[in-house]
Subunit: 208 residues, 2 copies
DNA sequence: GCATTTTTTGACCGATTGGACAAACGTTAG
DNA sequence: CTAACGTTTGTCCAATCGGTCAAAAAATGC
């Protein structure tokens, strides 16, 4: 069986595949799936198009590999939300981790945003599967905190959406954020300002 | 002078241009600028490609027209924020209007999101001009409310970003929201649930 | 060393892209 | 009715798209 056999890869294969995925992340996150081209990715990766297609059989194969990796990174911060911890500390930590991801991995955030914007044609199963399951689980945790009177009552799903939206905004809408804040305030400090604001908004908003 | 002359248009020209813009909104918002094709837009508008190019000289001309219209609609809700009104009522009204726009004009929201995601290559001047000026003005209004001790102190720019992010999320990430909420909770009621949650979050978050 | 396997490339393919053009077709004012 | 103008289309174009293929070049195992 070919398909089931574990893929043995040479040193060069590992290196070149990383190069390609790095270049593809740049292109897909900026232009979307249809907007990105194999020629463009190949050029950015410093190799010829047939050479790229020697390592990935198609454009979609690159995208699939990228999305699979992405989702693991993506779900990690929410997985850390701990039932047994202090609700405010847990939520505060989650917001901080998500904001750090927007700061350190903006291209991954935009890649994800592009896919969802286009109707999630290639990752719908993962959204309805893994992601929904995890959100259901953590929403129940938050609901537990509310029922125990430890934080104010609010819809836990929409709370999670709000955390996603506000944090990812600083990656997905980065050029707008920087343009509106101007040269001074739009500098490196903008993430610290955002962290302070979001901490206040969510923690105050959930006070009893 | 040709460029400066006011464009006189026949009845048919007005009708067909509207048809094209409607079809283009659908395509651009789903696939981005590069991902959308003239052939696709023409087919969706029910006409041949050369016929479409009789009404718009190029793909970019359609996009520019669409973006110009969009920005007016886009800035309207924030423009209504009234210095003289009650701060909580004003902010609450602004959130409600933005959420209604996400519900009623999701394609416009996604068109805007696509453009910003790609680095705003075609509307950067408007972002740095009109949009920044309006945000500066309204941020000053909010700052005034804070200085007067009418709402809690917080960064007004990041407050506006947070309102944008949370409301537009329900248009831009609609498929994800619906998938996570599931068939029952993801129905028509999701916008009412979102409205209730955001009202609580922001108003509680800004209480003194 | 040599034979085998892996890697790289130039040339090429059919399909699609954005757009040009002239000819044909409709509409309408006089 | 007819001339002028507005509208529509079929055909064509060069460029680019995703992808193939055979052959050359480089690395590797012995």
């Amino acid at each position: 069986m070919d398909a089931a056999s574990p893929k043995r890869r040479t040193r060069i294969q590992n290196e070149r595949r990383e190069l390609i995925l790095e270049a593809a992340l740049e292109m897909f996150s900026q232009h979307g799936f249809r907007g990105a081209t194999i020629d463009g990715i190949a050029e950015a990766a410093g190799m010829s198009k047939p050479n790229l297609l020697y390592y990935f059989r198609s454009k979609e194969a690159i995208h699939v590999t990228l999305m699979q990796r992405l989702l693991e990174t993506w779900l990690a911060p929410l997985k850390e939300l701990d039932d047994a911890g202090d609700p405010f500390a847990e939520l505060s930590g989650y917001i901080r981790r998500k904001l750090e991801m927007a700061r350190d991995y903006p291209r991954e955030s935009r890649l994800f945003a592009n896919e969802i914007l286009q109707g999630a044609p290639r990752i719908m199963p993962m959204i309805e599967g893994e992601l929904k399951a995890l959100v259901d689980e953590k929403a129940a945790v938050i609901k537990g905190w509310m029922a125990a009177g430890r934080i104010a009552r609010a819809d836990p799903y929409h709370l999670i959406f709000a955390i996603w939206a506000t944090t990812q905004h600083y990656a997905d809408f980065d050029v707008q954020v920087r343009a509106v804040l101007g040269p001074q305030r739009g500098g490196d400090g903008r993430f610290d300002d955002a962290a302070r604001f979001l901490e206040q908004l969510f923690l105050n908003g959930l006070k009893l």
